[in-house]
């Protein structure tokens, strides 16, 4: 009886891990897409609205779902920190703090951090160029993420169940 319960638990856990991995794979392109929308919004605020950066971030955050919204808000809020950080610092701190909540991976993070080192410190044209460059990189990542999703999503789900089944068989 106890054995049966144990086996069921292992099977359940394995299945869940598989599903979770699959969900992450599915969430990644979605998160990249929202990030792209956010950057688009920032481009409008900066390029056409001349909105100051902290305000532009707040506004972009209002139209962005979590977890990205929290990241943007924190980046804006950290600018008021006592040690007077540069935008680059507060931006990367905010990204580090909230990255774990998103399904995105290191290439996206690198592109974002690179963008942070040029936001707010040059003229409008330059800002728009930097934003477009970051968007281009993210688009490439999005395509790759979609490929990954198609290829591995189902695989992950079945792999979870199968590995759990294998463990159960080995134990029994």
């Amino acid at each position: 009886m106890l054995k049966l319960i144990g086996a069921a638990l292992i099977l359940f856990a394995g299945t869940m891990i598989g599903f979770q991995q699959a969900a992450r794979l599915a969430a990644r392109p979605r998160h990249i897409r929202t990030l792209l929308h956010t950057l688009q919004r920032l481009e409008t605020e900066i390029g056409y609205g001349y909105t100051p950066l902290p305000e532009a971030l707040e506004r972009a955050a209002e139209h962005t779902p979590e977890p990205l919204a929290a990241m943007l808000k924190e980046a804006a809020k950290r600018l008021d920190d006592a040690d007077g950080p540069s935008f680059r610092e507060s931006w990367s701190r905010a990204i580090e703090g909230h990255w774990a909540n998103s399904a995105m991976r290191s290439p996206e993070k690198a592109a974002l951090i690179r963008l942070g080192s040029s936001l707010g410190i040059s003229d409008r044209e330059d800002q728009v160029k930097h934003l477009r460059l970051a968007m281009q990189q993210l688009k490439a990542e999005e395509d790759a993420a979609r490929d990954d999703q198609e290829r591995y999503e189902k695989l992950c789900k079945s792999l979870g169940v199968l590995v759990a089944a294998l463990i159960v068989i080995l134990i029994v």
Binding site: Y50, P54, G84, G120, I121
Partner: protein
């Protein structure tokens, strides 16, 4: 004076300046920051290099040298992390921040079709701390009063840079707007409508269109507007009794000013010149002076005890000659 601008400085720089002697901090006028080069401060008409421990020296060898990282941070703070929103200001070479402080910037300019479009690689800052001296014009107002019209006469304020011209006309505008122009004894009349054309955002120090200095209840401000155009706009739209402009000198300024004077508006203007004689050597000013556009002239001078002013009111017909009716010099504040 220092605490008024600390919010603009990165913490490291604020700490260095915070160690300056109190007497210097109170009289601080300029902070000149140059990337990788000695920090210089100007106070009470003098300038010194500041060391990291807050000591002041004539020689630059042991002075504190701000790093490029620090300068970048400072620029970000001054521009609210949004350099791109300051394009118009960068084209003019300085930004005005809340409180009326003006920050001059130096770097490599970006050109577009031969005209300066902005500055990049900014490596030099000059923070000029604005001071509002309420009552600076009190002693002068009775001498400028036009009792028959119940207003004040057109006045030209003459002084070299950094002698308090802007401070003086700001207070003149405030007093006229409040109705304190009638003279001494606290007697008050009805305030006059004052229009300020503030091309360099120094007189009223507007932040998003709202003056941060007290320029009076009946005062309208056209911020960051070219003077000649602004004067015409104000005449057309705001029906001012008194028009206040800073630093006239171009031919088009003179034309607009003439227009205002003939429309029955009193004009208070400033110009860079040592004295009236000096002002006459400048073509645009000479024409105005000889036409009698101004009924009074104020010469400002800065001495160890403070600012001194002298009011000249040449009578009609005496305009082309040396003015004779000299008022005694009096301290301004």
């Amino acid at each position: 004076m220092l605490e008024r601008v600390t919010h603009l400085l990165p913490p490291e720089m604020a700490a260095v300046l915070g160690r300056l002697p109190d007497g210097v901090k109170d009289r601080l006028e300029e902070i000149r920051v140059r990337e990788g080069r000695p920090l210089e401060i100007g106070f009470g008409g003098e300038s010194r290099f500041a060391g990291e421990d807050g000591s002041l020296r004539h020689t630059p060898e042991q002075a504190y040298r701000p790093s490029s990282e620090l300068c970048r941070k400072m620029l970000e703070r001054m521009t609210n992390h949004s350099l791109y929103a300051m394009e118009e200001e960068l084209r003019r070479g300085y930004i005005t921040v809340s409180g009326g402080h003006r920050i001059g910037l130096c770097g490599r300019t970006v050109l577009e079709r031969g005209a300066v479009r902005g500055i990049r690689d900014i490596g030099g800052f000059n923070i000029r701390i604005a001071r509002e001296v309420v009552g600076a014009a009190d002693g002068l107002l009775p001498q400028l009063a036009d009792r028959t019209r119940g207003t004040i006469v057109s006045t030209l304020v003459l002084a070299p840079p950094q002698q308090g011209k802007t401070t003086l006309i700001r207070d003149l505008a405030r007093s006229i707007s409040y109705g304190l122009y009638a003279g001494s004894g606290g007697m008050r009349r009805e305030g006059r409508k004052v229009a300020i054309v503030d091309e360099r955002s120094e007189i009223a120090a507007c932040v998003r269109g709202v003056p941060t200095f007290d320029v009076g209840p009946r005062t309208d401000v056209m911020d960051a507007c070219p003077k000649a155009e602004g004067m015409m706009m104000m005449l057309r739209s705001m029906s001012p009794d008194v028009l206040v402009v800073d630093e006239i000198g171009h031919a088009e300024d003179a034309a607009a000013l003439r227009e205002a004077v003939h429309a029955g508006v009193s004009v208070i203007a400033t110009a860079h010149a040592r004295d009236l004689q000096d002002a006459r050597d400048r073509p645009a000013l000479r024409e105005l002076i000889e036409e009698g556009a101004f009924a009074a002239f104020i010469e400002l001078r800065r001495t160890a005890e403070g600012f001194r002013s002298r009011v000249l009111r040449p009578g009609p017909g005496a305009l082309a000659r040396e003015p004779t009716a000299l008022q005694p010099e009096r301290p301004l504040c």
